[in-house]
Symmetry: C2
Subunit: 259 residues, 2 copies
């Protein structure tokens, strides 16, 4: 992605090329992968190019979801928030096609931010907050977002967000009809927290290949990002394990059945 590099034209051809490569990998390993596309976002570019590429990927190439970069400027945050009407053609098309979006920034080019250390986690929290404070998702029944890295700072501050929502009259529980958190949190206490506050219906199993950390935790002897180990240590019953590892994903990605 790196949407801050080049321009709308570069981003279009780069995205088309990458998405065709993704399709090819999925054809080579159909038991391992299902295709999710990147979009040709670019700072200041209208969203219509992304709508067009999403439609091409889903309708012509069998993709089941997309990634949306909430900040194509790479850490300068000068575009419109996700609740702005500039984004609405994309949300409408996602609803029409019944595909979800992972809301995940790309590399930071602002020296204030470390890409995987602060930019990713800040963007996750920012996206959640935009949805919560604007309430715009209630206008898009069926719109589904996945917020990566276990939701950034959100589960750790669940009380803050619930409390702010109560103070302001924002719909907190209704938002959870639209938002899922993945499990890319690299230690046991973090995964424990995630599962203790977020409803199990809103947690999607994810692990890494390659993620932000490659090393082995000396305290456990396992890779930091081997998230399944942490999930296996959480006392979930079989039904809840089934939700986290399979059935939530099937609900979020209904086109998985078609591939």
């Amino acid at each position: 992605m790196a949407h801050h590099i080049g321009n709308e034209h570069t981003s279009r051809f780069w995205s088309e090329h990458q998405n065709e490569l993704i399709r090819r990998v999925c054809d080579l390993y159909p038991e391992n992968f299902a295709p999710v596309c990147q979009l040709p976002q670019s700072p200041g570019a209208p969203i219509e190019g992304s709508v067009r590429e999403l439609r091409r990927c889903v309708e012509e190439m069998g993709f089941i979801g997309c990634n949306v970069n909430p900040d194509p400027t790479g850490g300068y945050w000068t575009g419109p928030p996700l609740s702005d009407r500039a984004w609405w053609p994309l949300w409408e098309t996602m609803c029409e096609l019944d595909v979800p979006a992972m809301i995940h920034v790309s590399a930071a080019c602002n020296p204030q931010f470390h890409t995987t250390g602060s930019h990713y986690l800040g963007a996750d929290t920012t996206a959640f907050m935009q949805a919560l404070s604007s309430g715009f998702m209630s206008d898009f029944p069926g719109l589904r977002w996945i917020i990566p890295h276990g939701g950034g700072a959100v589960p750790y501050h669940w009380g803050r967000f619930r409390g702010m929502a109560a103070d302001q009259g924002w719909e907190f529980d209704a938002l959870l009809e639209h938002i899922w958190f993945d499990t890319c949190v690299y230690h046991q206490p973090g995964i424990d927290l995630l599962l203790s506050v977020v409803p199990v219906e809103n947690v999607l199993f994810a692990s890494e290949m390659v993620g932000a950390v490659r090393g082995i935790n000396p305290d456990t002897g396992r890779h930091y990002d081997d998230t399944k180990v942490y999930l296996d240590a959480v006392p979930l019953d079989e039904d809840d394990r089934g939700l986290v590892f399979e059935h939530n994903a099937r609900r979020v990605f209904p086109r998985l059945e078609l591939t």
Copy 2:
């Protein structure tokens, strides 16, 4: 604060006025408050004005610490990161005067960010990451930062940060000679996580008056931001409770003894 409003001149007189008011409140209620100053930061302004005001507050008015806004632009993040040499005169003066800084942004004026929902938490994580990835604090023995809101996203992603540090050869444990996290996390699982991963020597009790949330949690019947209730429910022995509620603060704010 709201450093994005006005200019360097405005900020100077606003800060001086506020700091004199803080001194007056502390004189009126010496058993309740100890003075910590704001600094006359302004987007693009050199740090020397802040150094001057810090010196005035500490040397002439008995202040024991300061607040540093890592992003005086209010969410546009166009200034230098905290590791940049532009900041170093401030870090040097803090070391000389033996005062810590709370690293806390002010209001966001970028519509991408909600002040207390995403800007605060993102800035906390950003500041920690700047210190970790640059290693600049090792050049300032005795430099002490407090990161508010329980460290933003940091404790929830403790494994990520520890793992990145191990991969990159960054000094993680040495950083904890310089950084403390407060306890402004508004639910029990968050406080439990904080105390389970961050060394108890690095946690400073804090509560709110007025914070991001004013309401009462219907599940507990207590104010969301009454953080002492959560801390009282954590099984800490008396020594550790003494650290969190008093002795860590005395180490971080040695000038407290002088007031």
